[in-house]
């Protein structure tokens, strides 16, 4: 156990208050409000996380294309700058809202709560949060989501789950994306699954390609099932 020592000398008497306050209490308080809002309208909230460039936006486009006749879907997408991702998603005909974080490397519950009134929630079955591409801090910020899904692209290398354990520990599903590139890459789906399940034995895994549509039906069936469960509550 390493303890950082203060360089300041103790002076006079001190009064101590032992607390156990979560550092992110302010965030978690807002995340709870979001959860309650979503429960009122039975909207399923799914937080999509991954590194930059692993195919989150392409997956959002493909998912919208496949499910838009079955479910009412909307997306909020976080990036440091530009409206590019929201524009790409809107092209598929669903509502998409860009959250520009202006340099912040993750989305916080407050940012989600601020834009919720832009959505007609009673008429939305499934709301995606496409998080900022980063496997580190998005893991710590609860956004009030029902499920957290992490994309793990074959181009990233199969050693990531142990390098970014908190993200995989807090996720419900890992999508091994860009599976169409497997023949060209030294990437083992078996190895990545084993590593990820050593961190989180309950993690569900689906291998997908938004290009060839491998695994997309399985992914969409999973979403439809979770939406159904939410609406039965």
């Amino acid at each position: 156990m390493s303890i950082e020592k203060s360089t300041k000398a103790a002076r006079g008497t001190a009064q101590c208050e032992n607390t156990n306050i979560n550092l992110l209490k302010a965030n978690d308080f807002v995340a709870d409000i979001i959860k309650k809002e979503m429960a009122k309208t039975n909207t399923l909230l799914v937080n999509i996380t991954s590194s930059a460039g692993s195919g989150k936006t392409t997956l959002m486009q493909k998912t919208a294309e496949k499910l838009k006749n079955k479910l009412n879907i909307a997306v909020m997408v976080g990036d440091l700058e530009t409206e590019r991702d929201a524009e790409r998603i809107r092209e598929t005909g669903i509502q998409a809202l860009q959250i520009v974080t202006g340099g912040i490397c993750h989305l916080e519950a407050q940012m989600i709560h601020q834009v919720l009134d832009q959505f007609d929630l009673p008429n939305i079955d499934l709301l995606f949060i496409e998080n900022v591409g980063n496997l580190v801090c998005p893991a710590s910020f609860d956004l009030g989501e029902d499920y957290r899904v992490t994309l793990m692209a074959t181009t990233e290398g199969d050693d990531k789950p142990k390098k970014y354990p908190r993200m995989f520990l807090t996720s419900d599903m890992m999508l091994v994306s860009k599976s169409d590139l497997l023949p060209y890459l030294p990437f083992s789906v078996e190895a990545v699954t084993k590593d990820a399940r050593e961190v989180n034995h309950e993690l569900e895994v689906i291998q997908i390609s938004s290009l060839t549509e491998e695994g997309i039906d399985k992914w969409c069936d999973w979403l439809v099932e979770k939406v159904k469960q939410k609406q039965q509550v």
Binding site: M1, S2, I3, E4, K5, S6, K8, G12, T13, A14, Q15, C16, E17, N18, T19, N20, I21, N22, L23, L24, K25, A26, N27, G103, I104, C105, H106, E108, V136, C137, A139, S140, P161, K162, P165, R166, L169, R197, E198, V199, N200, H201, E202
Partner: protein, 115 residues
């Protein structure tokens, strides 16, 4: 960027928790952060120093950070395992477990005030 958000969150949380009069007497903040919290104590200290540039009111308040190791407790045999190499598996019965009892925390566990 991440550390800056966390420092802001700590100070906002303390301002929610304590009266301003008390905060004026605040002397030290003690944090307990787990290895899984993605908080690097040195970087957090740097971000805390930077915070004082825009918020000079708290510049006398010391920050102490204690890191904690990762431990899980098996739901079946109750054995406590020190997790090594992020293998969340019980040392005793070899069953997988997600029951983290230490190492995930991000806590303000003590605040000191001048009398």
């Amino acid at each position: 960027m991440h550390e800056t958000s966390i420092v802001n969150s700590i100070m906002r949380t303390l301002e929610m928790e304590f009266e301003q009069e008390k905060l004026n007497k605040m002397k030290a903040i003690h944090l307990k952060v787990g290895i899984l919290s993605n908080i690097e104590p040195r970087l957090l200290h740097n971000a805390y120093s930077a915070y004082h540039i825009t918020n000079p009111g708290y510049h006398r308040v010391a920050l102490h950070i204690e890191s904690t190791k990762l431990k899980i407790q098996c739901e079946v045999c109750n054995h406590i395992t020190d997790v090594k190499n992020y293998r969340f598996i019980c040392d005793n019965c070899e069953r997988p477990s997600k029951n983290v009892i230490q190492g995930e925390e991000m806590l303000i566990h003590k605040v000191e005030f001048d009398d």
